[in-house]
């Protein structure tokens, strides 16, 4: 049994030589293979496909409807600066200035699958850019408020009275917007004062979830 080891001259078995060669060959392959830049996020083709689809937009009317019905799945994110946010924002919105979008503190808000995240800014531009970045990183459930706050003020807060010639739907829409405007605190007749606030109190408690923290 021990005879094998007592050879005076130390030699490596031929099989091991070949195996060693194979291993070095494989490792050298990594060095020799042509390098290419790795793609971060989704592939450009998919990016375009998502970008040209209009599904990412949500209209102000839809949003107003969601807020009034206290849709618990909505998470509003204000992309403007902190100053603008402090002056005015939509109810229950969270402020993530565009420049902080990818910060560790905020990325969790846009990279998740619980809420429908609705991004908005003054018009849809910042929100759209944020959406594009999120789209590239493969985040789901991101939406852009079409037209942003400008559109919000044009439609919900200050709806335009439709012309007489317009179809009936336009009037319906106007009524809805007017009512929504009252909900958001515009021109409510004094008699309705009581009705509005009770509605306003949002009791839906969103469940706090914490990131699973691993530890070693």
């Amino acid at each position: 049994m021990s005879k094998r080891y007592k050879t005076k001259k130390f030699i490596v078995k031929r099989e091991y030589q070949i195996l060693a060669f194979i291993l070095v060959f494989i490792a050298a392959g990594l060095v020799l293979l042509p390098k290419y830049k790795k793609n971060e996020g989704i592939m450009p083709e998919l990016f375009v496909k998502n970008a040209i689809s209009s599904e990412r937009y949500i209209s102000t009317d839809q949003l107003a409807d969601k807020i009034i019905n206290q849709d618990p799945s909505v998470l509003l994110i204000d992309m403007r600066s902190e100053k603008e946010f402090n002056e005015f924002s939509l109810p229950n919105a969270i402020n993530i200035p565009l420049k902080n979008l990818l910060d560790d503190d905020y990325i969790g808000y846009i990279d998740q699958d619980i809420y429908d995240v609705i991004l908005f800014s003054n018009d849809s531009f910042y929100a759209d850019q944020a959406w594009m970045l999120g789209n590239r990183l493969g985040f789901k459930n991101l939406y852009v408020l079409k037209g942003g706050l400008n559109e919000w003020f044009n439609t919900i807060i200050n709806p335009k009275y439709p012309d007489e010639t317009m179809p009936r739907e336009a009037f319906k829409l106007y009524d809805f917007r007017k009512a929504a405007g009252i909900y958001f605190g515009v021109g409510a007749p004094k008699t309705e004062k009581k009705a509005a606030p009770t509605k306003k109190v949002i009791t839906v408690k969103k469940k706090k979830k914490r990131a699973a923290e691993g530890g070693c």
Binding site: E15, Y16, L19, I22, F25, I26, Y36, K38, N39, E40, G41, M43, P44, F47, V48, I52, L75, E84, E87, F88, S89, N92, I94, N95, L98, K99, L101, L102, G108, D111, Q112, I114, Y115, S121, D123, F125, D128, Q129, L133, R136, L149, F153, N154, I157, G181, G185, V186, G187, A188, K190, K193, A196, K200, I202, K206, K209, A211, G214, G215, C216
Partner: protein
């Protein structure tokens, strides 16, 4: 106690390993298009906001220095467009002809100026081109419209609030008299689950 000195199994598995890798490498196709800029760089670029070209600047620069890219649909383009503009609507960016054209423009001396119905519309094209590594792209910050048989272009103020929101709201509320209740409620702190955070997998001990 000894281990097996036989090398049959290890030899077979090593050769298989090598074969699998070889097959993988041989059949591997390099993706045709990859994003060259990562998202952090892109975000930086967006914040700097020097990728816009106002209409005045556009009118003052020499047409030989730029190439206009119309990202609207072919139909809109046919109705009317800026002089010498080339039409590549966003979804056609990867078609053969536009790839060829864009490649020739990449890192050239000429600035690529994209425009659409409004800057918002041109933004996806810009984002795409920039992230694909085109440095010399700018968005024409203007609104284009085809009305009354004429193609018109006018300046567009980006991200400018149309009204002073806070003031309007205050006015509206004071007129209705229920100021207190409708005040902007303090943003509720919600902490959504951080799902795909990198390195979420914990290590073993």
């Amino acid at each position: 106690m000894k281990e097996l000195e036989k090398t049959k199994r290890i030899s077979i598995s090593a050769v298989l390993f090598l074969l699998i890798i070889l097959i993988g490498v041989v059949t591997f196709k390099k993706p045709k298009y990859v994003f060259e800029k990562d998202t952090a760089t892109t975000l930086q670029k967006i914040i700097e906001k020097d990728h816009f070209l106002s209409l005045e600047d556009f009118n003052s620069i020499d047409p030989a220095q730029y190439i206009l890219l119309d990202v609207r649909s072919n139909f809109e383009y046919a109705k009317g467009h800026l002089k010498d503009a080339i039409n590549i609507s966003t979804h056609q960016t990867f078609s053969d002809s536009s790839t060829k054209l864009l490649k020739s423009l990449k890192n050239g001396d000429k600035t690529i100026i994209v425009y659409g119905e409004n800057p918002d519309n041109a933004d996806s094209a810009w984002m795409l081109l920039y992230q694909l590594g085109y440095e010399n792209v700018k968005i024409l910050s203007a609104e284009t419209k085809y009305t009354d048989g004429k193609f018109k272009i006018k300046n567009y103020d980006l991200e400018k609030p149309s009204v002073n929101y806070a003031q309007v709201m205050q006015k509206a509320q004071s007129s209705s008299g229920n100021k207190n209740e409708i005040k902007k409620s303090t943003p509720k702190k919600v902490i959504p689950k951080l799902k795909k955070k990198k390195r979420v997998a914990e290590g073993g001990c």
